[in-house]
């Protein structure tokens, strides 16, 4: 996918997402299922350099934090914890919109090492949207306690994106995580995510649509992903494309009414 110039991205983030970034900062979107220790990862990476707000027009909370690594400033944007990116709820829509239209340099997906079968689902969906993905397999300490081992190497090979094992509560694996984020953000590592194959009928439809979509999208989004969304009957995507991608005369953002799921956290 084409990258935006740094200046344009700063403007985009400010106008459409109410996020103040600087030109030098690399932007990292932080996605993950609830209860994966995503917030712990967020806190461990950014420490006290955080501030919170709301997504424009939504009552979904939004936290951003900054950190430096190898002299490179990063802006970490914490997305709502979701199980998927099919926009069933406002949370899912917020997360999807930022990954898709906020043009982050990297999307960091946090998964629970003890529940990969459920968690990878989100990672696979993110990988359909963007190549710039780093996977963080968190709660390795809990997995160890439960006698679960995860083949990190193997997972990285299968998925085609960098994978880092962490135990964020114990601050383990964080520097490697930052290394990988740096590599992908700086273009030193270019992930090539696994392409999920669907049934014959679906694949054929994707093929036909991709040809038509590619020239219109001009490299702003993956044509395959847009084709899939059209096929699964996602009605919100086109509205969002208009909202986030079209010219300046459009209203900054429409007000959303729906709001955030949040488990009464223990």
């Amino acid at each position: 996918m084409k990258r935006l110039s740094a200046e344009k991205r700063v403007e985009l983030l400010q106008r459409k997402f109410g996020i103040e970034a600087s030109v030098e900062q690399k932007v990292v979107a932080l996605a993950g299922n609830p209860n994966t220790g995503k917030s712990t990862v967020f806190n461990a990476l950014t420490g006290l350099n955080q501030h919170t707000g709301n997504w424009p027009g939504k009552t979904v909370g939004n936290a951003q934090g900054t950190f430096m690594h190898k002299g490179q400033p990063f802006l970490l944007v914490d997305l709502p914890g979701t199980y998927s990116l099919l926009p069933n709820s406002v949370d899912e829509q917020v997360a999807r919109d930022f990954i898709c239209f906020g043009r982050p340099d990297v999307t960091l997906v946090v998964v629970d090492a003890t529940a990969l079968e459920r968690n990878l689902n989100l990672a696979l969906q993110v990988m359909e949207m963007t190549d710039q993905v780093v996977l963080c397999v968190n709660l390795m300490d809990e997995a160890k306690r439960k006698g679960i081992t995860v083949d990190i190497e193997g997972l990285a090979q299968k998925l085609g994106v960098p994978v880092v094992a962490t135990a964020a509560r114990q601050r383990q694996g964080l520097s490697e995580l930052k290394d990988r984020l740096f590599d992908v953000a700086a273009g030193k590592v270019v992930p090539s995510p696994l392409v999920l194959r669907y049934d014959e009928e679906v694949e054929q439809a994707i093929c036909e649509l991709e040809v038509q979509l590619a020239p219109l999208l001009k490299g702003t989004m993956k044509a395959r992903w847009v084709a899939l969304r059209l096929l699964d009957g996602d009605s919100t995507l086109l509205e969002d494309i208009e909202k986030y991608m079209a010219d300046a005369e459009l209203p900054k953002h429409t007000l959303g009414r729906e709001v955030s799921p949040s488990w009464p956290q223990a």
Partner: protein, 467 residues
């Protein structure tokens, strides 16, 4: 702007989408989603291995018991009962001590006023109105809250509340609500306004409305003290540990159960009438159990909840104390204003097993449920029966002197449990639903149920001559 897609291209995209919709009548969503899940599962299986010598899966075992079909509910009730037992048994002594302390100080204050030659009305407003009101609130409400909230927070911290939701999930679906309504109800135990906000987690508007309209039926922080206080005063005697305390705890558990039943019943009724529909499907994930962080949880719950509720009560009770004192001391005709109002409310109040002062306390207590009992106490004290505030029995005596029986106590508890939500909650409902109609219904439905239930209880009890 970083416009990357031209206007006309967006029109073309729409055209393609239309074409897809006509070409593939049935969206392929299910197939696509299922495929992702399959991949996710197979990749996970390939890269994960579980050691042969598998550690015991404590979470799984615990869940098997705590959420079991047979033990789930009994354990839930037992835990709830235990929490109330500890609260009721533990609150008496410190409550007595606090009341003693405040009573002693009141004597000293009165001495001070006399020594300074202050006029009687000033002493009346400041000491008998303001000071007494506040000291009653503190000594009656602080100890139970300081015990109950930390205990509840520990259960929450341990991860038990999601299991409660899981147990109740089935019932809510049967009642035509959303399974997540059990979560919003659990939030309501803390604060109904927060419970209403948490209804946002329910996506379907129909089911969210049901959850909003019924959130009021579980007792919130502001109402726990009323329930605990009255059940321990009238069913456990003012002092003592043993069978009485157990009875009082059981009564509170019964109240909670009754509230949950009412929640289910009203949800069911709504889903058969005004909000018809089929419950939607969802997955509830049970987070792992965690060892509670005792120190932090206790400190936090004392600061965040206990002191917060107490502060709200004191802030609203202090001016209310003055107002009530004034009402009780300004005479119109041959009676005090307070007695006029109470007298005017009495016929209706009597029919539902309450009295005029109680009804007035509920009306004046609209801003915050915490202040209903304090207002009531002040009302009674101002209306002539002066009580020494030296021990908890005095409170019971005060109530008895105003003709209370166990029926009165029971109906106050029932009315408190069921009546309209507090001002803050109503405001929140208005903001969340953006509808006057539903906001009014959210207050009227509980109110009519409260009146009906209290009326039936009062009439039945009186008919059989049980009081």
């Amino acid at each position: 702007m970083a416009a990357s897609i031209e206007r006309e291209d967006i029109h073309r995209l729409h055209a393609i989408a239309r074409q897809v919709r006509t070409e593939y009548k049935k969206p392929m969503r299910d197939g696509i989603v299922e495929k992702i899940y399959q991949h996710s599962q197979s990749i996970a299986e390939e890269v994960t291995s579980r050691s042969e010598r598998r550690r015991i899966d404590w979470d799984g075992r615990l869940d098997a018991i705590l959420t079991s079909r047979y033990f789930g509910f009994p354990i839930m009730l037992a835990l709830l009962g235990a929490v109330f037992w500890v609260t009721i048994a533990g609150a008496n002594v410190p409550s007595g001590l606090l009341a003693d302390g405040f009573g002693w100080l009141e004597g000293k204050l009165t001495d001070l006023f006399m020594w300074a030659g202050a006029p009687a009305w000033l002493h009346g407003i400041l000491v008998l109105g303001l000071y007494r009101g506040v000291s009653w609130v503190v000594s009656v409400m602080l100890p139970p809250m300081a015990i109950f909230f930390p205990l509840f927070a520990l259960l929450e911290d341990f991860g038990y509340l999601p299991r409660v939701a899981f147990n109740l999930d089935r019932l809510f679906k049967k009642a035509g609500g959303h399974g997540k309504q059990s979560l919003t109800m659990a939030m309501g135990f803390g604060c109904n306004a927060a419970g209403i906000i948490s209804c946002r987690i329910i996506e379907s508007p129909r089911e969210r409305m049901i959850a909003i309209l019924t959130n009021n039926f579980v007792p919130c922080n502001g109402r726990w003290p009323t329930l605990i206080l009255l059940s321990s005063l009238f069913l456990a005697g003012a002092v003592g540990i043993g069978a009485n305390v157990t009875a009082a705890a059981l009564i509170v558990v019964g109240m909670v159960l009754f509230g949950i039943m009412m929640t289910l019943f009203v949800s069911w009724a709504l889903s058969k009438t005004m909000l018809r529909g089929v419950p939607s499907h969802f997955t509830l994930e049970l987070p792992p159990y965690r060892k509670p962080q005792f120190g932090r949880t206790i400190v936090r719950s004392v600061y965040d909840k206990t002191l917060f509720v107490l502060k709200r009560a004191v802030i609203t009770a202090a001016p209310a104390g003055i107002v009530i004192w004034l009402l009780a001391n300004i005479t119109v005709g041959d009676q005090h204003v307070l007695d006029h109002i109470a007298g005017w409310l009495t016929p209706f109040a009597h029919a539902i097993g309450l009295d005029g002062y109680i009804l007035m306390a509920f009306l004046l207590g609209l801003p915050a449920n915490e202040i209903v009992v304090p207002i009531l106490i002040m009302g009674y004290m101002a209306s002539g029966a002066m009580v020494e505030l030296d021990d908890m029995n005095a409170l019971k005596t005060l109530f008895l002197e105003h003709g209370w029986t166990w029926l009165t106590a029971l109906n106050v508890m029932l009315f408190s449990l069921l009546h309209y939500p507090c001002g803050t909650t109503i405001y929140t409902i208005a903001k969340e639903t953006k509808s006057v109609k539903w906001t009014v219904l959210a207050a009227l439905i509980p109110l009519s149920i409260a009146v009906a239930v209290c009326f039936i209880v009062a009439q039945v009890v009186r008919y059989f001559g049980w009081v």
